[in-house]
Homo-oligomer: 326 residues x 2
């Protein structure tokens, strides 16, 4: 294993130092990444977090129009309640705080505990569980939270920026989760710095359909095939669960080690599939956004938009990893 790290123990800390140095718009304190400008009175604070190794999720989405704070845990490990408590109290502008939680047992428990420990802050919580691949999984009861987390954070963040009340921000976050589905495909395993070897064996001839973002097993292991067929398998799994129609937001996401060129090859097939079902992809995103360390592969996330969600998606955002039109 070769990785650009100093030590396996310091990798999260070192990467956060790099983020802080690269982005004056961020402030990093006690393992929480904040907007440097601090909370705005009257605005709902939006907080997310989870294990590290999925960058730019979540810290790369801290900024105007999206998150107020992100709580990174160790690699593939939930943040601790203390981090979440501190983040929640720090970003409260008096209108309460929304927790956006990916559905993994550790994350769910620690965010719940933090919500109980927080003093004098109204907290609402939304669970993201968009991955249609499997019902339960290694670290999850129910469906896993994956790519749609980005959709939830962007759209809830946009509504919070408009000074909507906590209940409304939480409701739109839930609505986005309900309207979103994801499916991932791994070409290779990922390797954590601590383990130093691949998390699972995947022969050179095979791919894993329905992979989780921590290398959790998916639905099936099948022989490698052209991008077109892999895209169709992913889209069929999504379409079977939530019929594609009307306006869609589609993300073709790389798992961390996937070149952009290949993601565009997949996107062409995904868009063609959606058209074939009579749906319109009106918004899209292609790139490495919700990753799994150095894993090669992709995931597709789809959200069924309406006019309001489209408007909130289009609203200005200014974060390290997502920015447009302030």
């Amino acid at each position: 294993m070769k990785k650009l790290i100093n030590t396996a123990e310091s990798v999260v800390e070192d990467a956060l130092n790099g983020m802080a140095a690269a982005h004056p718009s961020l402030r990093v304190r006690d393992r929480v990444v904040y907007r440097a400008e601090g909370p705005r009175p009257g605005k709902v604070g939006v907080v997310s977090g989870g294990g590290s190794g999925h960058e730019p999720l979540h810290a790369g989405f801290v900024g105007y129009g999206m998150l107020d704070a992100a709580c990174p845990g160790e690699i593939f490990t939930s943040p601790v309640p203390d981090q979440i408590v501190e983040a929640t109290q720090a970003v409260d502008g008096g209108a309460g705080v929304l927790h956006i939680v990916k559905n993994y047992t550790g994350d769910v428990l620690n965010f719940e505990m933090a919500a109980e420990l927080v003093e004098d802050v109204e907290v609402a919580s939304v669970l993201v569980d968009d991955d249609v691949a499997v019902q339960d999984s290694l670290y999850t009861a129910g469906r896993r939270g994956t790519g749609a987390t980005l959709f939830v954070e962007k759209i809830a963040g946009a509504l919070a920026e408009e000074d909507a009340p906590l209940a409304e921000v939480a409701a739109v976050a839930r609505e986005v989760d309900e309207r979103s589905r994801s499916f991932g495909v791994a070409l290779t395993s990922c390797t954590t710095p601590a383990a130093g070897k691949p998390m699972f064996d995947l022969p050179e001839t095979d791919v894993e359909l329905g992979i989780g973002i921590h290398g959790e097993p998916g639905r099936a292991r099948v022989p490698m095939r052209p991008a077109r067929e892999l895209a169709v398998l992913a889209m069929e799994a999504i379409h079977a669960d939530l019929p594609l129609r009307d306006d869609l937001l589609v993300m073709v996401n790389g798992m961390g080690g996937t070149p952009l060129m290949e993601l565009y090859v997949v996107y062409a097939e995904v868009a063609a599939f959606a058209r074939g079902k009579g749906a319109r992809v009106t918004r899209s995103l292609v790139g490495n956004y919700v990753t799994s360390l150095d894993m090669q592969g992709f995931s597709v996330s789809v959200c069924r938009l309406d006019e309001r969600l489209t408007r909130l998606w289009d609203a200005a955002v200014e974060t390290p990893a997502l920015r447009w039109g302030r």
Copy 2:
């Protein structure tokens, strides 16, 4: 080799179709990527191009404030003169066209030939040769053009957007090249779809210092070491060639297969090195921008800014891969 492609022969075409589908702001015609809105009368057209496999370079930088057109060749292969002629004629708004050419023999020849073939368009050309690693190389006489190409395209594109005349746009492009240096480090080889196996052998214990973006050999092969030491080696090579001082624009760039988290680890070390030399990193970029297919590794590019270059760097840009503040 597992790649998200349909066939090795169609990968460039398929990826361009994906780009066109994902970005309504782009138009793809005859292997040239244009701004959909077409040329603006009185504005210098800015055209670049080169082999594919370096995405998002160049097509991902087509848009407001940067390129008017990009000419992608086959993987690691120069675009043909016909593409460049067509792009040049199509983007001319009457004020002439700047060619931004990375210093590789094939690119230089084909852009020169195209400049001669173009009719009724004034063409200026600037060569990017920022890589300090080696003097001559596999495909290059003189230094190779790598990461600083992004700086040249951004800053020349910004000045062109202000309707500066061709001579001025060409002059600022040359100035950025002269003020910029780069150095790359490979942890792994890249694999072209056509070859289907790594371009070179790099043992699990070693890294290649001064790697080119097509896997060309660098200065030395040394045992793998912590990110801090690799960053220092890269920065020392740059500093020895162009002393770091005053305001710097720094890019820590991934080679395509490198997770963002690791790039931030490297960035922290790069920024610390610059501070140690008494320089200030006033602008930065961390991500996969000038890549080499699936290669793992990084490059650092540094440009010595002044007030005018800072202003042009900050100017609004709206492309698939780089966007801020229109």
